[in-house]
Amino acid sequence: MPNDTHQPIAGKEIFSLANVSRGFRKGGDERQVLDGVNLQLHEGEIVGMLGRSGSGKSTLLRIIAGLIQPSSGDIRYLGQPLEGPPEGVAMVFQTFALFPWLTVMQNVEAGLEALGVEPKERRKRALAAIDLIGLDGFENAYPRELSGGMRQRVGFARALVVNPTLLLMDEPFSALDVLTAETLRTDLLDLWSQRQLPIKSILIVTHNIEEAVFMCDRILVLSSNPGRVVAEIKVPFPHRRNRLDPAFRKMVDDIYALMTSRRNAHTTQKMPLELSSPLHEVSTNLMAGLLEALAGQPYNGRADLPEIAQTLLLEVDDLFPVAEILDQLGFAELKEGDILLTTAGKRFVDASTQERKVLFAEHLLRHVPLAAKIRAVLQERRGQRAPRVRFEQELEDSMSDDLAQETLETAINWGRYAEIFSYNDHTETFSLEDVEGAT
């Protein structure tokens, strides 16, 4: 990456991670959540970690916070090897993690009390932080009395009051509504630009591409399963950034393209699903909805991903899975950050409810080996029944238990919609009972 930006030259190194991996043991062999991650954080920069669910970005954040241990790799904080939770690293949580039984003031003071700060000094510093973050007047309120936005402000005040060197933020705005989130982002950026914050550097974990481009000086894009840094992007725009600026839009588009194409980075060919490919919970209603939206005005069969995400109010984590599975099923195609309707997709949109099921069944059996396998096993067996564990165990050999569950649940939902098999949750068995034309 060229380094010809207008940003101030990055300052002293705060954190450095070299070749950090984290895995969990599974049936004798190790499965990686994070695989060989390298990363440096410097004074004076906001760094974004962008990835989808399953990319291990939150795990990486918690490794830096000293909350979990990496399986291997070298981590240095201010030049020293990291041992346990480091002093001077404060965290802001997605769920706010405010203690509901403490007032705003007590929540903010808790971290100071732990550092052994005198009560008088504690109070002074807490009030200053509350003031800075715009919470004055709420000192005696309990978190449950506050709106989401105000709660997250308490989260910020609690983190800032201990004068941390590094501020870690784990999707801090994703539990807030759009307007509140934007206000909080700009407030934080203003304080940062005016150098009113004691912190030297900020690391944000997010799955929101626009948010990353809006806030960060540098963005690391992580791949999923296992998590690896696949790209590092410098954001050259000065604050306050204009989301409608063509250069801003271009960068957002590029990252969308990067994140949807990264699976076939090495080959130009689309990789078909395998029996052991994880399937992510996507409802058939959402698939049909996206196809219909694509076919309609103003897209007429082709849409820009960021644009359609915004119109349909879908987060990246909602949009990508549905777009990708439509791509795999052959109803749509992903190309350079755009999504295109295929002929089959067009036929699906025009079909009646019953015809849609037939068409979906055909594509499901052709493109999703797990669905085809379940159907085939049922047809082979006498009585045309098979227990859930039969498939569960097979999946668990190649993925984590949770993922195996999700994959099987997804296959069940799609299979039920397509009426290629039926499933009884009480007895946990698949069968071909009540399935039309099954012999």
Binding site: L67, A90, G111, E113, A114, T427
Partner: protein
């Protein structure tokens, strides 16, 4: 196999009702007890020729005794269930009935379970003169009184908190009250009801042991079972037999849990309202076996069909349909007023009758003395719950924070809570007799011997479900030591602790009757306290004094709950809620 999820709140802990009607319910219930015994005493004579079986201490008889005890438990459970469905429905659907029924339930559950038995045993024996059936009924009724109130509260509360949209759908589909009852009321209440059944059942073992061998005055009733086997072992000073009966009880509880309750809890999971799948759905191998074996399914089919048909009938009679209708006509207001006046009058009459009955034999100074004994027992309950808390809260937290360990300890704690502690009493008593220890001090631990485990397993559940984000925030902000307990963990588990402590203290009051007055062969040990007073007056068959003792204890329990646990529960619900 283990569920470490948040247990349901015991239904009794969170009722949301006015309490001025308690003043009427209280005399009514005590008066009812009085009538059931004194009105019947003329028919006492036929009891003399009641044939009771001789209990043999041969361990070979234990399986049969255990079976009979279990059957008694089952019969009581069926009775409790019927009572729950009828009483709960009436209380929830009729505004006027609610006014009386709910405070009555509250008092009913404050009356010590073993207090009922001395009165009801005479009633049932008179009902079936000279036959064992009467004694059986009395024992079953005792177990019933330990289970029914809790379950009824749970059912009533579920009915009252039904989601509005489901109720509206029932109206919109024009379900008859009978159909609605089976389609909505019962299924919606099922998870809470089953959980409370399980809790009640845990308590039930204690009372079944206590109620199989009872002496009221000069009449001793012995029913073959685990409890009477124990009683015989105590009279004959046979420690080996005590060992055998403990073993038998362990086996029975494990079988009961595996074959009845675990399947029921796993099955009732399908009635949960949330659309999301629980993180750890309850599992039961027995249920899996039943559901997955086609032969069993085939056998069960006719029963299912019968039940469905019954539930689908429209039924000509109508249950009170309107739930708390808003509009009240002047006429209905007059009826309300008359109804209230009638209740007040009944309460006053009952109060007057009780006073007359008690005061005829007991002087004012003795009444004061009994209140003094109540204070001693109160002190004992408070102190021992406090000691148990100091021990089990920190341990429970440490266990709960280690999921692997919690998974192993939790079933053990639940088992210990169900195990009737009175089976272990002889071991303590032998030691106290041997060392000539002071019974006022050394009998005290017995009252929390069985119920302390409720504290442990609730605290473990609380620590297990403590949000991970909070743990991480505490670590991130370097909160440790005393500050960690004070600001993070203790408030976090407080709601669970209160739930456990309420159950534990309720159990302790009940246990005081059997644990303040114990015997081993001819050695009789008594501590000062209200429990011992009730036990001794029962043994003497002195009805006015039994009634006095029970009334005072019920009063103490009601006040204790109102003044201590309710406010603590309110704090837990309002201030310490996690969301």
């Amino acid at each position: 196999m283990t569920r470490v999820a948040r247990p349901f709140i015991p239904a009794t802990a969170r009722r949301l009702l006015p309490n001025r009607w308690d003043f009427i319910a209280f005399p009514l219930i005590i008066g009812f007890l009085m009538v059931s015994s004194s009105g019947i005493r003329q028919t006492w004579a036929p009891l003399a020729d009641l044939q009771t079986e001789i209990i043999s201490l041969d361990p070979a008889n234990l399986p049969e005794y255990a079976l009979r005890t279990t059957l008694r438990m089952l019969a009581a459970m069926v009775a409790s269930l019927l009572f729950t469905l009828i009483y709960g429905t009436l209380a929830a659907k009729s505004r006027r009935a609610e006014k009386l029924l709910v405070p009555m339930l509250d008092i009913l559950q404050s009356v010590p379970v073993l207090g009922y038995i001395s009165f009801t045993v005479t009633f049932f024996l008179a009902l079936f003169p000279g036959r064992v059936l009467g004694a059986e009924c009395a024992a079953i009724f005792a177990i019933f009184t330990s289970q029914a109130w809790n379950m009824t509260f749970s059912f009533y509360q579920s009915m009252r908190t039904q989601p509005r949209d489901l109720a509206e759908v029932a109206v919109n589909l024009r379900l008859s009250p009978w159909q609605r009852f089976w389609k909505l009321d019962v299924p919606y209440s099922m998870p809470g009801l089953i959980w409370n059944m399980m809790m009640s059942m845990s308590g039930g073992w204690f009372f079944v042991v206590a109620s199989e061998a009872i002496t009221v005055g000069d009449k001793t009733v012995t029913l073959p079972g685990i409890g009477s086997y124990l009683a015989t072992a105590i009279v004959q000073r046979d420690l080996h037999a005590v060992g055998w009966v403990i073993l038998a009880m362990v086996v029975v509880i494990v079988i009961y849990d595996q074959f009845l309750f675990r399947p029921m809890v796993a099955w009732s999971d399908k009635f949960r309202l949330e659309d999301t799948v629980a993180q750890a759905a309850p599992e039961s191998w027995v249920l899996n076996l039943i559901q997955r074996t086609r032969a069993i399914q085939y056998l069960l089919r006719p029963f299912g069909k019968l039940l469905r048909t019954v539930a689908r009938m429209r039924m000509p009679f109508s249950l009170p349909a309107a739930i708390h209708s808003e509009s009240r006509t002047p006429l209905s207001r007059v009826i309300d007023w008359l109804w209230a006046a009638l209740l007040v009058a009944m309460g006053l009459v009952a109060a007057w009758k009780i006073c007359a009955f008690v005061l005829a034999e007991v002087g004012l100074s003795e009444i004061l003395h009994v209140f003094g004994l109540g204070l001693i027992t109160l002190l004992r309950v408070v102190l021992l719950i406090a000691i148990a808390s100091v021990v089990w809260v920190p341990l429970g937290v440490l266990i709960g924070l280690r999921p692997k360990l919690a998974e192993r300890i939790q079933p053990l704690a639940q088992f210990l809570a169900a195990f009737p502690a009175n089976l272990l009493f002889p071991i303590f008593v032998v030691a106290i007799v041997h060392f000539h220890a002071n019974p006022d001090i050394w009998l005290s631990p017995l009252i929390v011997l069985g119920t302390q485990w409720y504290i442990l397993f609730n605290v473990i559940a609380g620590a297990t479900t403590f949000p991970n984000d909070f743990k991480e925030a505490a670590t991130n902000f370097r909160i440790r030591g005393w500050q960690w307990w004070r600001q993070i963990m203790l408030p976090g588990i407080f709601p669970y602790y209160v739930t456990g402590a309420i159950t534990a203290s309720g159990g302790a009051w009940n246990a005081s009757i059997v644990s303040e007055y114990v015997q081993w062969g001819d050695d009789k040990l008594a501590a000062h306290g209200l429990g011992a007073y009730i036990a001794q007056t029962t043994a003497a068959g002195d009805y006015p004094r039994i009634l006095l003792g029970i009334a005072v204890m019920a009063l103490f329990v009601v006040l204790f709950n109102r003044l201590l646990w309710r406010p603590m529960y309110a704090i837990a619900e309002n201030k310490l809620r996690l969301n």
